[in-house]
């Protein structure tokens, strides 16, 4: 899911002090709010569902310069034109700020380096899936998770091509509400909608 249109960074991205932690508390808070908005907008634009802090911070020139992983966001915290970058600690603080807002969650089984970035929360994704199910009259039907993510039927739906684990999380919300049931094996999960 590579988007062809470039991401338009907000004005503050070209503002050098934006990359230095501000000492004044009020200023710092304003800075965090701007960073949080930027992270969400960036991930939404590039359809990044997870963010790996260390790979986002590390210099891709010194490490393997391949943006293969789906969690790289090499220019998010690093403005090469300005030669300014957010430090690891400051970036962590931004993600922490988002976490308190319910927009970031550590991915299970990692040391907190990889996080979910919820530019849509699982609840919101669940709502989208449910709306799609209603629209296409699939209530009572059975679909595999693969079909939901990659099937032709969902082409055009916003959740088409989304992260498998996140989709499962979203469906989990529906299960809790009694709107769906997940069954099957690890790699061939199916879901029935009620």
């Amino acid at each position: 899911m590579s988007t062809t249109t470039p991401f338009f960074f907000p004005r503050e991205y070209s503002f050098p002090p934006f990359f230095t932690r501000q000492t004044n508390l009020t200023t710092h808070h304003a800075q965090l709010i701007k960073w949080a908005a930027l992270v969400l907008a960036y991930c939404r634009h590039h359809r990044l569902f997870k963010l790996s802090l260390s790979s986002a911070i590390s210099d891709p020139l010194s490490s393997t310069a391949e943006p293969t992983s789906d969690t790289t966001a090499s220019d998010l915290f690093h403005n090469r034109q300005l030669n300014r970058r957010l430090s690891l600690a400051d970036a962590r603080e931004v993600l922490d700020f988002l976490r308190r807002d319910g927009r970031v969650e550590p991915v299970d089984g990692t040391t907190g380096d990889v996080v979910w970035v919820y530019w849509r929360t699982p609840e919101e994704w669940a709502g989208l899936v449910e709306a799609w199910v209603d629209e296409t009259a699939q209530r009572g039907g059975v679909l595999t998770l693969y079909e939901l993510r990659e099937g032709d039927a969902t082409r055009g739906a916003e959740f088409h091509g989304m992260d498998a684990d996140l989709l499962q999380k979203a469906l989990g919300v529906l299960v809790k509400r009694g709107k769906a049931q997940i069954f099957g094996q690890e790699d061939s999960l199916g879901v029935k909608f009620f």
């Binding site: 338009f8 503002f15 050098p16 990359f19 004044n24 907008a41 634009h45 970058r85």
Partner: protein, 257 residues
């Protein structure tokens, strides 16, 4: 000329003449006053007529509005000053004359200005360039029915004064700023802010060279402004640079969609 007529009769005559003089004088005065009142009434009705026929222009055309404001100022009518004390009418001259449209225009605008100041206070410490306020208003698409000039914004801020609010206009260098926190700037701080306008930032050594300040003085001035949230610091350059947040404030294009 002053040949004094002798005798008692002169006393009565003198009283008579002075009475006549004074009555004539008061008559003159009253006709004068009447004439003036008529003139004023005519003028008011004309101004009212003018304002009513051009209400739309006044509202939508900024240069026309500025001209109108200037005309009022020239003839000594402060359009926004509440004149309730003078004529007991309540409301400003403009609200009386124009049925509130122009007045409402400025009050509405004042509310928008307060919004912009409030929204940006976190990042600029409550000091914002009037030009930036205008940009913010335009970006938010909240031009109160037409274009808004800096002149309008200054006038709108003036309407806030009776509320006893902290909003005031100060000049830093040649540029007007709106200050929305009750904070006085000392001359050193003003000088730093003025210097910042040139490049968008200053460093301590730049201040030392250009203003011939001692290091401690320059350091104190920028640290103070930093503490007030009126400057942002960039520590990733060779020497710490202190930036005006005004250089960042603008519409966030794209991104959030």
């Amino acid at each position: 000329m002053s040949r004094k007529p002798p005798g008692l009769a002169s006393l009565t005559r003198h009283r008579l003449t002075s009475a006549q003089f004074s009555s004539h004088g008061s008559a003159l005065r009253s006709t004068n006053a009447q004439a003036f009142e008529t003139q004023l009434a005519v003028f008011r009705s004309l101004l009212q007529q003018f304002a009513q026929t051009h209400a739309k222009d006044i509202r939508s055309n900024p240069s026309f509005r500025a001209q109108f404001a200037r005309m009022c100022a020239a003839i000594g009518v402060d359009p926004l000053l509440a004149s309730s004390a003078k004529d007991g009418g309540g409301g400003s001259v403009w609200s009386q004359l124009l049925g509130g449209t122009v007045n409402d225009f400025y009050f509405e605008l004042a509310v928008r200005v307060v919004e912009v100041c409030g929204r940006t206070r976190g990042e600029n410490g409550g000091l914002i360039e009037v030009r930036k306020v205008r940009e913010g208003l335009v970006a938010a698409g909240k031009g109160v029915g037409g274009e808004v000039t800096e002149d309008d914004i200054l006038r709108a801020v003036a309407t806030l004064k009776p509320l006893g609010s902290a909003y005031s206009v100060i000049r830093v260098g040649s540029k007007p700023y709106i200050r929305s926190v009750p904070k006085e700037l000392n001359t050193d701080q003003s000088a730093v802010l003025e210097a910042v306008q040139v490049l968008g930032y200053v460093s301590v050594s730049m201040l030392m060279v250009n203003l011939r300040w001692a290091r401690a003085r320059a350091q104190t001035a920028v640290e103070d402004l930093l503490g007030e949230g009126m400057l942002w610091v960039d520590r990733q350059s060779e020497e710490a640079e202190f930036w005006s947040p005004g250089f960042m404030l603008e519409s966030e294009e794209g991104g959030t969609g």
